[in-house]
Symmetry: C2
Subunit: 142 residues, 2 copies
Amino acid sequence: MKYSQATNYALHTMLYFVSLPAGTTIGVQQLATIQRLSPTYLSKILTKLVKAGLIESTPGIHGGYKLVKNNADLSFLDVIQAIEGTATAFHCGAGLQHDSCLIQQVMMDAEQQLEEYLKARKLVELAEGAMPWLSTLEDPVR
Amino acid sequence: MKYSQATNYALHTMLYFVSLPAGTTIGVQQLATIQRLSPTYLSKILTKLVKAGLIESTPGIHGGYKLVKNNADLSFLDVIQAIEGTATAFHCGAGLQHDSCLIQQVMMDAEQQLEEYLKARKLVELAEGAMPWLSTLEDPVR
DNA sequence: CTATTATAGACTCATTGAGTCTGTAATAGC
DNA sequence: GCTATTACAGACTCAATGAGTCTATAATAG
């Protein structure tokens, strides 16, 4: 029962996007050096975020990634589900009945509670606060 | 982000214990045949439940497992944490600071929400309802 | 002493996470 | 149209973990 490391990176990356001036485009190279991980690996994470519709990408010499639009509504759940998927965390599978299992029902209710909380928490809440790990690094915008 | 299969078995087993007459002792052999899985594997799960203090075991010819005492307070969270452990599902680890990460804070809050819900849901709620997969099998109590 | 039960640990196998490497497609500027 | 720069896709490696088996040991009742 653990979140993947990719979710961690995705959240930090998206929080960085939100803290940026609106409409800023930034490449994977800079994002990777900021977070101190390989560009190709971060690229795969960013591609998932693109496919989820959270950011958009443009190739080419002045390309990169930028936030798609609505910073204010961007929730933790959006980012997490973009990486982890939307499958349920618990699957009964005892015998044959996946539907009639009462335990399954409770677990799905619990997961629903969790998702509603994560949907209510927006990234922009933290954007104005602080990104302390940023000040210790070189300026990402050249 | 998935619960282990062992948690599934543990929940079904504990629900079975709760639905039993109070103080009933039952061996791993019968529990295993009911759920159609190997006794040795289920044994490891039961041992975890013992160490968590949810059930108690007595070896010997008339031994087996039985519920420790308080059916009414036995929550989903108790069983889940007995198997999955109590470690947090999200761990920041960006750079060096595990404590000052705002994302980490939110994720821990979310997990807290989930745990409180799972703590409020008791197994006894389902005990009187139905265990439909039981009626399709032979009588577990010989 | 023996049968029955729980417990522990080593072991196998398949899956998944995490990350790298290489190549391909698309875009801007010349 | 050529080139540099970027995103994208897929194959690949490595380690860790889940899932389950097997064997041996300890404890209890008769």
